[in-house]
């Protein structure tokens, strides 16, 4: 054959692609509705989205929104948890309710022949959950075990530390609740949150798939027009902190085969006007397998299986991150190459070829994301939840194409700031420290529970803390005396907790460094109550909190050891 195969072939004539137009209307109770027909597959998907998420949780009850999302499918007025799962799965329907930092989304989808059932189940889980006590109890216990499990995973530890470093007191600082947060979640708190947040004037309903518009409007009226509007919470969020300098944190995970590296900084919220230049900049720098950091750290240096940068832009703020999992001995080399690439993108203009490649990628993959019902749903839901322009999907590709090399240089200069990034490394601290200590004046070291290691370096023994402790509890401003008796047998602790309302038995207790964590089961006013005790010991004093599911917030205490 005499064809010239040396050069890549020219493309065929372009095939136009248009996103179907959505229609939008509002019910009298304030519920916004978006309909997007997609007749080529016999499926219907509904998403009911709420403009409240995990960041809106009370500061002392983090995890409440996530718990509510999980519990909405664990029992309703019409169905027990099991009946709901059986009905949905018998019809092949997918039900999912999940929360993110900013939103809660309930979704039901399946074959369009089951449209009646899809509507029925969505209304049931959104409008009529009952939060049964026994299911909540199981949720609490399973979530606590899952939280322990997460701590064995290096990527979780890295993400947790990064959020804390970037966000300080801002609600985005927390990516997972503590065990105490979970213990505090009550049926009452869930029902209260449900009545305040799950209201039509805080929601948007999306219906996507194979349906006739008249029929679907009628179903929406039938299912949701009786739903009462409520008063929307006004939540005031603190500003995300401004970073002023570079920080280095190491999370010690002894025995790690790798180092998980994250370099992170605060960027902008999702609806920021710099979105498109940032998207293109991130594509050139590190979003994919042909981007600069991947080509450098993996393809040239072979330090890692993958090295990337990413933008995680949310409602109130966002992050820019560079990440890689590298073999332990090349941690310092990997950091050096990351900083080289970060410096280069912010000081030198990207080439015309790089710019064109990045833009071609972003415009080209766009239709692929719209091939499936779930993909199209994600596009339209995000557009509306983040308040993006009504022609956002139609103009996405032209907005990407309009980005110039100057735009990229400008946003890189503004948002990629190696001098103020938070460096987080998860790995064996003994091997990490010598490799990272030149990047900041001080390196903060944490254990996998999130405790600073100076604290964990010191430790107390069961023998040292056994004895009688006089505890003063702060219960809603009044000082309540309580006695804690600790006994030890070798390293095992047991004991009692004596209060004015009744006495409790310490059912489990463990020491980690200078921290005591214990659980007491007490009879109080005829009821069995589980109390969780968390304290830090310094010599003969201890301070911490005692919490229970009955209390909205744990009670702080101070204690001294009786001689």
């Amino acid at each position: 054959m005499s064809q010239n195969l040396t050069n890549p072939p020219a493309p065929l004539p372009p095939v136009p692609f248009s996103i179907p137009e959505a229609s939008r209307f509002r019910l009298s109770n304030g519920l916004e509705v978006v309909l997007l027909p997609m007749a080529r597959v016999p499926l219907v998907g509904i998403r009911m989205a709420f403009f409240s998420g995990e960041a809106d949780d009370p500061i002392d009850n983090f995890g409440l929104t996530a718990a509510m999302a999980s519990m909405m499918t664990e029992g309703t007025e019409g169905y027990s948890s099991r009946e709901l799962a059986e009905k949905a799965e018998r019809l092949g329907l997918d039900i999912n309710i999940g929360s993110s930092t900013d939103f809660l989304i309930a979704s039901v989808s399946g074959l369009s022949i089951y449209t009646d059932d899809i509507f029925e189940l969505l209304s049931e889980v959104v409008l009529r959950p009952t939060f049964p006590e026994n299911e909540l109890d199981l949720y609490r216990r399973n979530t606590i075990e899952n939280l322990k499990f997460q701590r064995s995973q290096p990527n979780f530890l890295a993400a947790e530390r990064t959020a804390l470093e970037l966000y300080g007191q801002h609600p985005y600082a927390r990516i997972a609740p503590s065990q105490d947060d979970i213990r505090r979640i009550s049926v009452k708190a869930l029902a209260n949150l449900h009545s305040r947040r799950i209201i039509p004037n805080n929601a948007m309903l999306f219906v996507i798939g194979d349906f006739s518009e008249d029929d679907i409007r009628q179903r929406i009226e039938d299912s949701f027009s009786e739903w009462q509007a409520g008063e929307q919470d006004e939540v005031a969020y603190p500003q995300p902190p401004k970073r002023t300098g570079r920080t280095v944190s190491v999370v010690d995970r002894p025995g790690s085969a790798q180092a998980n590296i994250i370099l992170a900084d605060i960027a902008v919220p999702r609806n920021h006007p710099d979105y498109f230049p940032l998207l293109v900049m991130n594509q050139v720098l590190g979003a994919g397998a042909s981007s600069r950091v991947f080509m450098n750290l993996r393809e040239e240096k072979g330090y890692t299986y993958g090295a990337y940068t990413r933008l995680d832009l949310k409602k109130l703020s966002g992050e820019f991150e560079a990440t890689a999992e590298v073999r332990t001995p090349v941690t310092a080399d990997a950091l050096k190459e990351f900083f080289y690439e970060l410096e280069r993108i912010r000081t030198e203009p990207v080439t015309e070829a790089e710019l064109a490649d990045a833009k071609n990628y972003l415009t080209g993959v766009f239709p692929i994301r719209a091939e499936t019902l779930d993909g199209l749903a994600a596009l339209i839901v995000n557009q509306h939840l983040y308040g993006l322009p009504s022609d956002y999907l139609q103009t996405y590709r032209s907005n990407v194409s309009a980005v110039t090399a100057d735009d990229v240089l400008r946003v890189a200069g503004q948002y990629v700031c190696p001098d103020r990034m938070a460096i987080v490394v998860v790995g064996d601290a003994a091997e990490m420290l010598p490799q990272v200590d030149s990047y900041a004046a001080a390196v903060a070291v944490f254990d996998s529970e999130g405790n600073p290691v100076d604290d964990a370096g010191k430790s107390v023994t069961a023998e040292q803390i056994a004895g009688k402790w006089d505890v003063i509890l702060d219960f809603q401003g009044s000082q309540v005396p309580v006695t804690l008796n600790l006994m030890h047998e070798g390293s095992r602790l047991s004991g009692t907790l004596e209060t004015m309302l009744g006495n409790g038995i310490i059912s489990s207790a463990e020491i980690n460094g200078c921290r005591l964590r214990a659980t007491a089961t007490a009879e109080m006013a005829g009821q069995s109550v589980e109390l969780s005790i968390s304290g830090t010991i310094e010599g003969s004093t201890m301070s911490g909190t005692i919490g229970s599911a009955m209390l909205p917030v744990p009670m702080p205490f101070k204690a001294t050891k009786a001689i």
């Binding site: 054959m1 064809q3 195969l5 040396t6 890549p8 072939p9 020219a10 065929l12 004539p13 372009p14 095939v15 692609f17 080529r40 597959v41 016999p42 499926l43 948890s81 799962a85 059986e86 799965e89 018998r90 019809l91 092949g92 329907l93 399946g110 022949i113 199981l138 216990r141 399973n142 075990e145 322990k148 499990f149 064995s152 995973q153 025995g255 790690s256 085969a257 790798q258 994919g288 397998a289 042909s290 993996r298 393809e299 072979g302 890692t304 299986y305 999992e325 073999r327 064109a356 071609n360 990628y361 415009t363 080209g364 993959v365 239709p367 692929i368 719209a370 091939e371 499936t372 019902l373």
Partner: protein, 423 residues
């Protein structure tokens, strides 16, 4: 109800080039996207002792450049055209695939043809990709809690080396590989007569055939690779093993059984039995263990579908202080119930609807269609199997499920791996 629902077959054309390359075309103009999947008939099943990890190493080598495509150029050409791509390796095959805007079909075909014709097997590429594979092993297996348990249980289930060893392979074997070994592997297994090219999406068949012929037509065929013997005795290799996992926070266990090959009625029956046992919140074991006894943190199960003897697994991470043997007893009791009474009518209805739903969802994406068609072509020599699989599954009777569970799962012939957290 579901009786009113019928699914039209996918339009598929199949033909073969003079050099033996099997080609399938599945045009569907709905979205201007085209998916290309190239499946090579080589996986870990083809590897000999001392030469493990080669099939997977090749998946990396195939991105290292060829006569007209520079090192890592494959990624770049695809991405700058607005496409996505990847490759994966299993016991059965190695696949490479890309989804592109419809007008970039020529580019995708040219790239796949160039590396099939002229892969650059150099010492430098080999050294570099060996390191990338080692890093992948650390990331996916060595540094993850429970990361190695599936490789271990496969060695307990299978007696035949071709089936038992891991896809990631031995790092010593990879270190011992010479450029000559790697070149020979390429010549044998990456020949057009050992591959399937599958195209789905928005394209014109006449244009596609011209392009396929232009780019692939002159690649030379090779002698057929040596046949693979994956035969197995019915007995598992090892019934019990305790494994200390230094990264695991909790004890866990995994039970595995050896079952008949894919696409047999018995395999289908066991695949459906698995769905009833562990798939979803209404499944028997979820309701018994996660809900009823409240004894496990995580429950999981799946089938490993192979052309030869296949396998099915159930595993759990129990809650602390829970008696592992009691949880296993509950699992075996539920299996005994399924083996005795078979699935209920409600369970059969559930399977029916879930199979329809899964099939409709799978077909939405050009890439899923291209991959499914390539698999049927490679394994069965018949791409239209993709249109019959749903019917074949729906034809499985409750009694077939019952008797397959009795024969293959309700038996002492199984492998149990106990994972204990290390110190």
């Amino acid at each position: 109800m579901s009786e009113s629902f019928s699914l039209s077959p996918l339009e598929i054309e199949e033909y073969r080039l003079g050099n033996g390359l099997r080609v399938t075309l599945n045009p569907d103009p709905a979205v201007p996207v085209v998916a290309i999947a190239v499946y090579y008939d080589v996986g870990s099943r083809n590897e000999r002792p001392g030469r493990t990890g080669f099939a997977h190493l090749f998946e990396h080598m195939m991105f290292q450049g060829s006569q007209n495509v520079p090192k890592a150029g494959h990624f770049q050409y695809i991405m700058k055209a607005g496409g996505t791509m990847n490759g994966t390796t299993s016991s059965e095959r190695t696949n490479y695939y890309e989804t592109l805007p419809a007008n970039q079909l020529p580019l995708g075909l040219w790239l796949e043809a160039d590396r099939m014709r002229s892969l650059a097997v150099t010492q430098e590429n080999l050294d570099n990709q060996r390191e990338a594979v080692k890093e992948e092993k650390r990331l996916r297996y060595d540094n993850q809690p429970y990361g190695q348990i599936f490789d271990i249980i496969n060695q307990m289930i299978y007696r035949n080396f071709a089936n038992a060893h891991s896809t990631i392979g031995s790092m010593d074997d990879l270190d011992a590989a010479t450029v000559e070994d790697v070149r020979e592997f390429f010549r044998l297994y990456y020949a057009p007569n050992n591959a399937v090219l599958s195209i789905s999406g928005a394209f014109d068949s006449i244009t596609a055939k011209e392009l396929v012929n232009r780019f692939f037509g002159d690649i030379s065929s090779q002698a057929a690779p040596p046949p693979v013997d994956v035969s197995e005795p019915p007995e598992v290799a090892e019934n019990y093993k305790k494994y200390e996992d230094n990264l695991a926070p909790f004890p866990a266990f995994l039970i595995g059984w050896k079952i008949p090959p894919r696409r047999t009625r018995k395999f289908y029956a066991l695949y459906l039995a698995g769905k009833l046992l562990y798939d979803g919140e209404s499944s028997r074991l979820y309701q018994k263990l996660v809900k009823g006894d409240e004894s496990v943190i995580q429950l999981f199960g799946f089938t490993d579908e192979r052309r030869g003897p296949s396998s099915i697994f159930v595993g759990a991470i129990p809650k602390p202080e829970k008696d592992l043997s009691q949880i296993r007893e509950t699992i075996m009791k539920e299996i005994a119930d399924l083996a005795g009474r078979g699935p209920s009518p409600e369970e059969m209805q559930k399977l029916h609807n879930q199979l329809l739903n899964d099939t409709v969802r799978m077909r939405q994406s050009s890439m899923n269609r291209a991959q499914a068609i390539a698999e049927f072509t490679l394994y069965d020599g018949d791409p239209t199997g993709v249109n019959r699989e749903l019917e074949e599954l729906l034809a499985i009777t409750p009694d077939e499920i019952r008797s397959a569970v009795a024969e293959y799962l309700e038996t002492e012939n199984r492998a149990l791996l106990d994972v204990v957290p290390g110190k």
